[in-house]
Symmetry: C2
Subunit: 292 residues, 2 copies
């Protein structure tokens, strides 16, 4: 059996009991290491599982999938993924490959940011499509995410914005010279994300990402249950003015609040707000929320 197992969002204890049993019974265990990160080191996982882990980077998953799947029709092989296995496209590729090789597969689900974001107090069924925000460079500032946020905003829905992660990236020079030397990992911070959002808003000017009147909620290391998650709510301007330690270590995501927000959602999130009066004030003036 080929298992694809979600590890959940934080550390070694977020795996499910079923997932842990599959890991323990597997002859090889791979750890996917590029679409997201866990907040613990590989060694800590290995100690907890009592198993050696094989790191699977993008290269390996894309070019050596047959090696990963080898003998999975005769023995158990596990492939571990941070969050839930269906967060990133690549894992459906692997399942398609396994299907072609007639290898039986089983997916063991877990929490992902797509549902754990509910911790911020906004109702999951009020979210529209999720968007990703990549690091801008001097010459490359892809802004199609703005159209997606606008589609959601026009319907009054919230948007979950996933922030870019760069792991095992090569510099242009190293890439050109074919040198497999990698840059240190980079994780987009909340202020950086907001600065990119506002840069695009200044170009497009539809008003959906107005610094002073758009409410947002930053969620950091959400969902692990390890107690170090951080949720901070405010206008875009307020959030971008916070010192970095307010949000702490990666990973960060950002939620743009939609106009159809219910007063109870605002009340729940108020406990996370930078400035309660401003939070309620904007919700009432701009979002039309009526509080008792």
């Amino acid at each position: 059996m080929f298992y694809i197992i979600g590890l959940g969002l934080c550390d070694e204890k977020d795996i499910t009991v079923r997932g842990l049993e599959a890991v323990k019974g597997s002859s090889r265990v791979y750890l996917e290491a590029y679409t997201s990160i866990l907040m613990v080191q590989k060694e800590r996982l290995e100690a907890f599982y009592g198993k050696e882990l094989i790191l699977a980077d993008r290269d390996m998953v894309e070019t050596e999938s047959d090696e990963i799947l080898r003998d999975a029709d005769k023995e158990d092989v596990s492939f571990l993924v941070v969050g839930d296995p269906f967060g990133a496209t690549t894992h459906t590729d692997m399942l398609l490959r396994a299907r072609a090789l007639k290898i039986p597969c089983r997916v063991i689900h877990n929490a992902s940011i797509m549902n754990a974001v509910g911790a911020c107090g906004l109702q999951l069924y009020n979210f529209g499509q999720t968007v990703s925000l990549v690091f801008f460079t001097e010459t490359w500032k892809p802004d199609s995410f703005y159209d997606r946020i606008k589609e959601n905003a026009d319907l009054g829905m919230h948007t979950l914005v996933l922030l870019d992660i760069k792991v095992k990236e090569q510099s242009e020079e190293n890439l050109a010279r074919g040198r497999k030397i990698y840059e240190p990992p980079r994780y987009m911070s909340i202020p950086q994300a907001i600065s990119q959002l506002i840069e695009v808003e200044e170009k497009r000017r539809s008003g959906i990402l107005a610094p002073e009147s758009t409410l947002a909620i930053a969620v950091s290391r959400v969902g692990g249950g390890s107690g170090n998650e951080r949720i901070v709510a405010g206008t875009l301007a307020e959030l971008s003015a916070q010192p970095p330690e307010v949000f702490g270590e990666p990973l960060h995501s950002l939620v743009i609040v939609g106009k159809r927000v219910h007063p109870l959602e605002i009340e729940y999130a108020e406990a996370f707000s930078v400035d309660r009066d401003s939070w309620r004030g904007v919700a009432s003036r701009v979002y039309g929320c009526r509080f008792d």
Copy 2:
């Protein structure tokens, strides 16, 4: 500490290791028993946890939350929820109540249908807002879900439709007479859901739920990893013509495919289709998918 713990989607082994530790260390453990169901009996959970569970029905959660939270500032109390704790509104109510009582809380996340639905092959970031479909009666056929599906459809996004569950409902007569006698639980089936969708489509006629040309995917008992999940893809007409055993036991959900669907999503889901030629044919004719 007051723990709200997601149990995941299927059985006793879908709890996370962290969640299991919290349960084992708790002096009281409640099992929420009305917004969803697990596919196992309470007794099996109790045997696995080595703990007695207190069933918490809607009545209890709404009127006795202080009893549930009693002493949680001095000892650990766990409240178990099927799926993820933020699937249903009521659990934020409980967290707000705990917050007011200054009881420390921790949420332990898990998979929910909101992310496990990715198992059908459609990409999660292509989903719009989620809708719920309730049992129609002769006199009560609420159809605001149609507006939500249309909003998603107009943007080309997929819609996850959650099907109604009736647990511990009273008949009108018993309700009127104040008799706490409950009807047997009812779970909406896929054919019943589709028949309601088409009933509303015939009234509204915007064409977003056309029986012969709207693609949909039924997902049953998804995400447990226990191997009894069932995924069936086809037009609404094809799905509604299937005998009940094709979908099997509850719980069922239905995904309406949006026009922005990527050919790779169609190809992945093709393996689940009732009729492959029809699946690809409609995807190509109606959804504009181009296959190599």
